[in-house]
């Protein structure tokens, strides 16, 4: 019935309407932006990221990702403490375009309110539905 999405939406991740994903393994969460966000920005050339140890709150901005033309805020899918940032992105920001869910991860954090906040995040199917609603009415 529905066409396959042109954007990758892997299973096993949580998603937000701001087009971030979170992969929770054990007590940590890796965070990045989705294939949709990466394709919309296209040439990612620069990021501003928080220092490790920084506290972030769910849905508030923790940095920016920039293309040649545009700046996008990065919103935390979960509250917690930043435990590491992807150093590869300093010299190779295009990793996000090439591999938004793996090599292009952006920060890792230790979630502080995982159980409550998980409930507010989107499942892969819910995020796909959300993407369809955005693209509805677009010509391409």
């Amino acid at each position: 019935m529905s066409n396959p999405s042109p954007y990758q939406v892997p299973d096993g991740l949580f998603y937000t309407k701001e087009h971030e994903w979170a992969r929770v393994t054990g007590g940590t969460a890796k965070v990045g932006i989705t294939d949709y966000a990466a394709k919309t920005l296209n040439d990612i050339v620069y990021l501003t990221l928080p220092s490790t140890g920084k506290e972030v709150k769910q849905l508030s901005s923790f940095g920016t990702v920039e293309s040649i033309k545009a700046v996008s805020e990065l919103y935390a899918p979960l509250s917690g403490t930043v435990t590491s940032t992807n150093q590869e992105l300093t010299n190779h920001p295009e990793l996000i375009n090439q591999s938004p869910y793996e090599a292009g991860w952006i920060i890792e954090l230790k979630p502080s309110m995982l159980e409550e906040e998980k409930k507010t995040l989107l499942s892969p199917r819910q995020y796909e539905e959300f993407l369809k609603s955005l693209d509805a009415g677009h010509q391409n």
Partner: protein, 374 residues
């Protein structure tokens, strides 16, 4: 007129729709990239790229009073230029404010072809009709009947030569010639908006002939869209009307004083310009290259002491320099070339320097580059 609210499209729309990411620009459905702005930008710097610039306005000005009208309309001396010249100039209002920037092709004495910005065309036509009121001349808008394609880059001659009998390598910069491209009547002008060598072709066809020209050019050039058009012109230090200048900007502030004729005394805006030249501009357009961070439009510029001295009007990431670059205005006396300034990026001042324009080393990039660097 977009009375239905629907965007217009150029003759090359099908190609753009099939290959590009579409956006609305100046009332037209246009591509912002085909593959990526970065790739398209570097294709122009390293080889050749083609741009559909059909959205730009093209108007013929002819008639017994056309020469007199044109001479009074612009601050640049057009009358003394030879036939075949392509002249970059400014349309000014009586307060010496910039109404548009454009190229005037002097086709013949009393015959001119103007190429203006898409978003300004209607405004320019009304301005011209008002200034020329009472004079005997005709303005023909040939935008819809023609297609305009820019071929830009160090390999532009090679990319275009197979399509035209014109001896392209012999054409001087800022001249034009009438000929054919793919057998279709065309004007070819050795001008562009990238800083590289190149040509802009106006083909007298708005249908299958235009598509044939575009497809033939694809054999020797990369298709490039609006994103790279902007990053290229900014890297080359070329101002964009509507961003880097508007009707509240005069040519001296815009650092375009060189377009003002030294001998012509009377033309639209000349009186105001004369007093501005006496006083000197209160602010001036300058380039800024950042150490880190990317400057964006409306970011404040401060001096080393943190005092506000100006604002960014265009900013981007330079693919060649791999740093943030900006064009903006600083109050006079301006900081010197190489002097440190700060651009406030998200509430934090970030270091940069006043930079020469174009931003790149013009022995390596641009139309002045030393031939065939290996």
């Amino acid at each position: 007129m977009t009375t239905t609210g629907k965007s217009r499209s150029t003759p090359l729309y099908e190609f753009h729709r099939t290959h590009g990411k579409m956006v609305e620009f100046a009332g037209y459905e246009m591509p912002i990239w085909y593959t990526s702005t970065m790739e398209e930008h570097m294709a122009v710097r390293n080889h050749a790229g083609i741009f559909d610039v059909s959205h730009m306005g093209r108007v013929d000005v002819t008639g017994p009073d056309a020469a007199r009208f044109i001479e009074n309309l612009f601050p640049t001396g057009i009358g003394k230029q030879p036939i075949g010249k392509s002249v970059y100039t400014l349309l000014l209002n009586e307060s010496a404010g910039i109404v548009d920037d454009l190229i005037v092709l002097k086709v013949d004495e009393g015959k001119y072809l103007l190429v203006v910005n898409a978003a300004s065309k209607e405004k320019d036509l009304r301005h011209m009709e008002r200034i020329g009121s009472g004079l005997n001349f005709k303005i023909d808008d040939i935008t819809e009947a023609t297609t305009m394609i820019a071929v830009q880059g160090p390999s532009a001659v090679e990319a275009l030569q197979p399509l035209t009998p014109l001896p392209l390598a012999e054409m001087k910069r800022f001249t034009h010639a009438f000929s054919t491209v793919k057998g279709i009547r065309a004007v070819v002008t050795r001008t562009g908006y990238t800083g590289e060598d190149g040509f802009e072709i106006i083909v007298h066809d708005a249908a299958s002939g235009a598509i044939a020209v575009w497809e033939a050019l694809l054999k020797g050039a990369t298709p490039c869209a609006l994103g790279s058009r902007d990053s290229l012109r900014l890297e080359a230090g070329l101002p964009l009307y509507g961003s880097d200048m508007d009707e509240a900007t005069n040519p001296l502030e815009a650092d375009l004083g060189w377009v003002i004729s030294k001998d012509k005394k009377s033309y639209v805006g000349s009186q105001r310009l004369a007093s501005l030249m006496q006083q000197g501009p209160a602010r001036i357009r300058r380039g800024i290259i950042m150490d880190e961070r990317i400057p964006r439009r409306d970011f404040k510029v401060t001096d080393k002491a943190g005092e506000e001295i100006g604002v960014v009007t265009s900013g981007t990431f330079s693919p060649v320099l791999k740093r943030g670059i900006a064009m903006g205005y600083v109050k006079t006396p301006s900081p010197q070339l190489g002097e440190t300034v700060e651009v406030v990026v998200r509430d934090a001042p970030s270091n940069g320097k006043i930079a020469k324009l174009p931003f790149y080393d013009d022995s390596l990039y641009g139309w002045k580059r030393k031939p065939h660097q290996q």
